[in-house]
Symmetry: C2
Subunit: 149 residues, 2 copies
DNA sequence: GCGGGATAATCGCTTGTGCAACAATAAATA
DNA sequence: TATTTATTGTTGCACAAGCGATTATCCCGC
């Protein structure tokens, strides 16, 4: 095997590690958020993304990108959260195709109540992952990505 | 904000980056594998995991862990692949609750035909991700995890 | 050996997802 | 201005996922 084959294998292994860590964290967050606030991970992601926007409004397509979800899934996701009163749709005046989504006070309140649970679960999941030899290096590398922030 | 709050935020941002990169890669692999071999990413993962086992056999539960899937989803996933003749179930003699899954020649052949496409797509997806400033550091960190292999 | 608890895998049911087709609006072109 | 083309978001449909209940088997203590 030459250098090229090694690179391929290293990439594949990196991807498997990434997928494994992602799966582990997501599963724990799923359980935790479900138990605490009847929120799925994507639902929490939407609320969180909205809260970190100036004025708390985003278009559907931005939301789709932020969640790595399809357009149709995003539509229904927003429907669910709107039905629960956690966000509202706002028609965009300048581009009448576009729709802004905005966090309601109830949505913001639920988010702020849930965030500590989310963060604690994330910390615990990372600690667990660190116990797995295969995952430890990636867990260690993660905080170094944004250490300066 | 104190040191503790910073750590929380760094973890959260690391997780968002991880999730974003995972979503991007998975989406590209999904398209590519679907077009090339009518395989989903998890299906490919199963075939690949089986091929890297001694004697190419694994129990359902190992498979569930390897794919980060539930037990029931694993059952149906194996059903689909078995129906397509890509793997077979083998009753375990010593523990009659257990079931081994083994790659068939057809499954191995399909895998070996698909693997180059998979690897090329992975390389391309990582290159694309590297163009995104937010993701580049993680992309760079990945190959260093198993550089010595 | 025998009952009680744990473990492996499967099945019914509900829910969320992607794809493709669609409707409405904006932008480009003639 | 009129007509085409692109973009934005929603809907119908089929499929895969998780949860909980169920069945079969193993293992431990008596």
């Amino acid at each position: 095997m030459g250098i090229k084959d090694d690179a391929v294998e290293v990439r594949a292994q990196g991807w498997r590690t990434l997928a494994a860590l992602h799966g582990l964290i997501e599963a724990e967050l799923e359980r935790s958020l479900q138990a605490e606030a009847q929120l799925s991970v994507v639902e929490y992601t939407v609320l969180d993304a909205l809260s970190r926007q100036d004025g708390w409004h985003m278009r559907m397509q931005q939301l789709a990108r932020a969640t790595a979800l399809s357009a149709s899934a995003t539509t229904r996701l927003v429907n669910r959260l709107e039905d629960r009163g956690l966000l509202t749709r706002i028609l965009c005046a300048d581009d009448r195709r576009g729709i802004y989504t905005e966090l309601t006070p109830a949505g913001l309140k639920l988010l702020e109540h849930t965030r500590p649970v989310h963060d604690a679960t994330l910390e615990r999941a990372l600690a667990e992952a660190h116990e797995v030899p295969e995952l430890a290096p990636l867990v260690d590398a993660l905080p170094r990505l944004h250490a300066g922030v």
